[in-house]
């Protein structure tokens, strides 16, 4: 397994932990602080996304190995794909918020929605990038590795 694949698996695990942590915090707030309104509950649970910051430590955790041009190409494709999907998510989220606010006749967006938007977007980028890296490496292995 290459260093890129190890980092991708690590980042996927971190993203999964962040999502599980978010759901756990949201459930905790819903069950144990029942008087807390939905907005603050969303903001409270946002703390879970701090876990994704661990992804920035991959250069320290995983020993540096010399890569080659294909590794660089896969990284570039994965980053491009992840950011392209993030942009779709960004536009989709923004348009959904706008649509809901138009429907309800509201002018301002709740401050509780914005952190969720940014946090979930970052988790999405980390996840999609990792998945693309793993798929691109997997394709070649399935095609004909010698044992």
């Amino acid at each position: 397994m290459t260093r890129n694949e190890k980092i991708a698996w690590f980042n996927l695990a971190v993203a999964a932990v962040a999502v599980v942590f978010y759901i756990a915090l949201f459930a905790f707030a819903t069950i144990w602080i029942p008087k807390m309104p939905l907005g603050p509950r969303i903001s409270f649970s946002f703390a879970a996304f701090a876990v994704v910051g661990i992804c920035g430590l991959t250069d320290v955790i995983f020993r540096k190995e010399p890569g080659d041009e294909r590794d660089a190409l896969i990284e570039r494709r994965a980053t491009f794909g992840a950011h392209m999907l993030f942009w779709l998510y960004f536009v989709g989220f923004a348009m959904s918020v706008w649509g809901v606010h138009m429907y309800r006749g509201l002018e301002t967006v709740s401050i509780h929605v914005l952190p969720l938007f940014v946090g979930s977007g970052f988790v999405l980028v980390v996840t999609i990038r990792s998945v693309i890296v793993l798929v691109l490496y997997r394709k070649a292995i399935d095609a004909g590795a010698e044992v």
Binding site: D68, E69, R70, D71, K139
Partner: protein
């Protein structure tokens, strides 16, 4: 618009003709990972010109003896 040409190669055959060289051996001789050699042999990756020359030099042949273009040529 011209169709994208498909690049095939004879790396696997050349490896076996050169003392049954392993993918790992070729990878270390050309400065890439074994996975890249696997991808090349499977036709899943088209190398840069520099890597193509390194592979050809490793086998002591020309680039055109390793890589072949299939399909329509640009401009035809």
């Amino acid at each position: 618009m011209a169709n994208k040409p498909h690049i095939t190669n004879s790396i696997r055959r050349l490896r076996f003709e050169h003392g049954e060289m392993t993918q790992e051996d070729l990878a270390s001789l050309t400065g890439v990972t074994r996975q890249t050699i696997i991808a090349l042999e499977a036709g899943k990756y088209t190398p840069s010109l520099a890597l193509a020359f390194r592979i050809a030099n490793t086998f002591g042949v020309g680039v055109e003896d390793v890589f072949h273009e299939e399909g329509p040529h640009v401009g035809e």
